[in-house]
Amino acid sequence: MKSLFLRDIKLAFRSGGGFGLTLAFFLIVILFVPLGVGADSAILARIAPGILWIGAILSCLLSLDRIFQLDFEDGTLEALATSPLPLESIAASKAAAHWITTGLPLTLIAPLLAYLLQMPSSGYIWLIASLLIGTPALSFIGTFAAAVTVGVKRGGLLLSLLVLPLYIPTLVFGAQTVIRATVSLDPMPALLLTTGISLFSIALMPFACAMALKVNLK
């Protein structure tokens, strides 16, 4: 399981900078916001928390279809499925590798982008905390949707349609954490709910994911 995890991370780093692409996409989304809504810093500061969360979710979406697609096409996934490792562990390891290569870098770059969007300084620590806690949920839910659509040819669009509704609770609680911090409300309840969603996803999504993989591999 450890070697699978390390292999996925290495692949993500080497295959044409999948890691860098995600961050570049995040940067472009954030760049688009002032260009689209105007450079008024009061408006930017107000919408910054939501935009950062939406940007993080969209960037996370980009690399989801890679989680299983290549391994499915060249038969690696089938080989893995027949190995003594349970499919649930494979799913969990894939999701964890996805988080290390997308969620974590997104979290690390987010404060910089928040500065560009003139987010009030009271929000920074909560932005980092909510992304750090919330992005694992994105990876684990996303891995499930990737497993469901792995057999579909050109399933990228379908994958987005399936996974984005599932991201709604994470988005709401994650963004609310930061919004509440910037308008000096207590952000703690929202952060705890984000934590709840995240732990729930980490605990249960690998099982749903393994179910979907089994169907697609039969």
């Binding site: 839910i141 709604i168 709401v172 169907v215």
Partner: protein, 243 residues
């Protein structure tokens, strides 16, 4: 004699063929009488006037939008656990009806919202929740359409329905949380059942009953179509392999 006997497509077709005409007539009668009673034989609301009468379409449609999803969830679970094809097909058949009910609820809500709240659309928790329900339906239907192998499609949509149900409920509560966070205190209560007068209550019950029957009728009809379609495909394939 148990309910599971009707999981056999032949028995299901025989029974549903007999029940369907009765259900059709019954739901049509209830719908017509409920709506006529509601539209013409109830008093105008002292504040909202005649606009209040859209409740007789709005509330039943909204209820069925949610109940259709619940029915899909139950049918999906039965498919996953007991592998009855009729169940999987019934879930597939219910989805377009559910999405239609959702659209009716949103549309009638918008029409009702304009004279009473002064806006067709407001990002109010309950309205938002219905749009969320709509995208869940869209994803579910899109997945059915995308997968060619029928059993794989039934399996994957059932798993999606199961996971989706959990996240749909979570979204409902998330949306409550979100809206409170934006504007405290301002609440537009749609819980009319508690305030509604008996003059409205009984025709509303008839309309809800009519929508339930209408839903059952349509699901049976569409399930029968799906079964026939699958039989036709099987025959066509057999013909091709022999020819």
């Amino acid at each position: 004699m148990s309910l599971w006997e009707y999981a056999n497509p032949v028995k299901f077709m025989a029974l549903s063929g007999r029940v369907l005409p009765v259900l059709t007539i019954l739901s049509a009668m209830l719908l017509v009488s409920g709506l006529i009673w509601g539209f013409f034989f109830t008093p105008h609301d002292y504040k909202q006037g005649a606009t209040v009468k859209i409740i007789f379409l709005h509330v039943p449609a909204a209820m069925m939008a949610i109940n259709a999803w619940v029915m899909m969830l139950v049918a999906s679970l039965i498919w996953l656990i007991r592998r009855h094809h009729v169940s999987a097909l019934a879930a597939k058949a219910a989805a377009p009806i559910g999405i239609t009910m959702t659209l009716i609820a949103i549309a009638t809500g918008a029409i009702w919202g304009k004279p009473t709240w002064g806006t067709y659309w407001e990002w109010e928790p309950r309205l938002t929740a219905f749009v969320i329900l709509l995208v869940f339906y869209l994803g579910y239907i899109a997945l059915w359409e995308a997968i060619e192998d029928k059993d794989t499609a039934a399996d994957l949509t059932s798993i999606l329905c199961m996971v989706g149900s959990v996240f749909a409920v979570l979204s409902r509560y998330a949306v409550n949380f979100w809206s409170q966070g934006l504007h405290q205190g301002a609440s537009l209560s749609l819980d009319k059942e508690q305030h509604v007068d008996n003059a409205f209550y009984f025709p509303l019950l008839v309309c809800i009953g009519a929508f339930v029957l209408l839903f059952i009728t349509l699901v049976l009809l569409r399930t029968r179509t799906e079964i026939r379609l699958r039989r036709a495909n099987a025959l066509a394939n057999r013909g091709r392999s022999h020819g």
